[in-house]
């Protein structure tokens, strides 16, 4: 797979599209079905999709996977699996726990893999080359600006009772929103700078 960037264009794009299909399929299975085996299958689909997506996203831009990219995938993949298992199987147990201190621990457990993700992102950015760091700085800036503006707008509308906002849900969505906008801007920036 390291040589994927040398494959014919149609093959690279086919792998890229297939990896999205696997990823979306995994999410759909997770949302629609329950049970240990099905969850395992969905997680496997998601993991294969994520690895293929990482490799093929580089390959469609004629880029090879560097040492730092492979390290990033090696750290993120098990962290992602731990996060999903905690969210799907451990987190829902909080309602059955009596002791408040244990409840707090169980509810906050998903923070551990998220902290590893933040550490990995910081380390990855520090080890990227200078143009990639510039792209990431732009992406982080745009993500912070977009999420701040949207949350400020929601805050203004909610304060004047024009809309009803679920505070807990909004707080939960801030981190994923930051990651999604950052990812989209990063992808757009890489596409813009790809050259021939």
């Amino acid at each position: 797979m390291d040589k994927m960037s040398e494959w014919p264009k149609w093959q690279r794009w086919s792998v890229w599209l297939s990896s999205w299909a696997l990823y979306v399929g995994g999410v759909a299975v997770l949302l629609m079905f329950h049970g240990f085996l099905v969850q395992g299958l969905a997680l496997a689909l998601l993991c294969v999709g994520l690895v293929l997506l990482t490799y093929s996203s580089k390959a469609v831009l004629n880029e090879r996977m560097r040492k730092v990219d492979r390290w990033y995938v090696r750290v993120l993949l098990p962290t992602f699996v731990v996060y999903m298992v905690l969210m799907l199987d451990v987190w829902p147990m909080y309602s059955r726990i009596e002791a408040p201190w244990l409840k707090v621990i169980v509810v906050l457990l998903p923070l551990l893999p998220l902290a590893v993700v933040v550490w990995a992102m910081v380390r990855y950015m520090a080890r990227c080359d200078e143009l990639e760091r510039r792209q990431q700085l732009e992406a982080v800036g745009v993500a912070a600006a977009v999420v701040s503006l949207v949350s400020f707008a929601l805050g203004l509308l909610a304060a004047t009772k024009l809309i009803a906002v679920n505070g807990a849900l909004v707080l939960l969505l801030i981190f994923p929103a930051l990651c999604i906008v950052y990812g989209v801007v990063c992808a757009w920036s890489k596409w813009r700078w790809r050259g021939r």
Binding site: S5, L61, N62, E63, R64, R66, K67, D129, E130, L131, E132, K190, W193, R194, G195, R196
Partner: protein, 66 residues
């Protein structure tokens, strides 16, 4: 800033990807430098000069814009 990176790379028979591998940077960084869209930092410019066995001022011309 105008530079001779493409000329020197082609003289060595390297692709952008191969040069990127030598310098441990991405191919898009090499492409951006060659097309004058991005000026490399001093450490990267020195790395390029050392790799091609050139003086840095013979590779980069700050007076000419592309």
């Amino acid at each position: 800033m105008k530079n001779r990176v493409r000329e020197l790379r082609e003289a060595h028979g390297w692709s952008q990807g191969a040069l990127a591998e030598h310098l441990d940077v991405s191919r898009q960084t090499i492409n951006a430098i060659e097309t004058g869209k991005y000026d490399p930092s001093l450490p990267l410019a020195f790395k390029l000069a050392r790799l091609f066995k050139q003086r840095i001022e013979s590779m980069f011309d700050p007076d000419e814009e592309r």
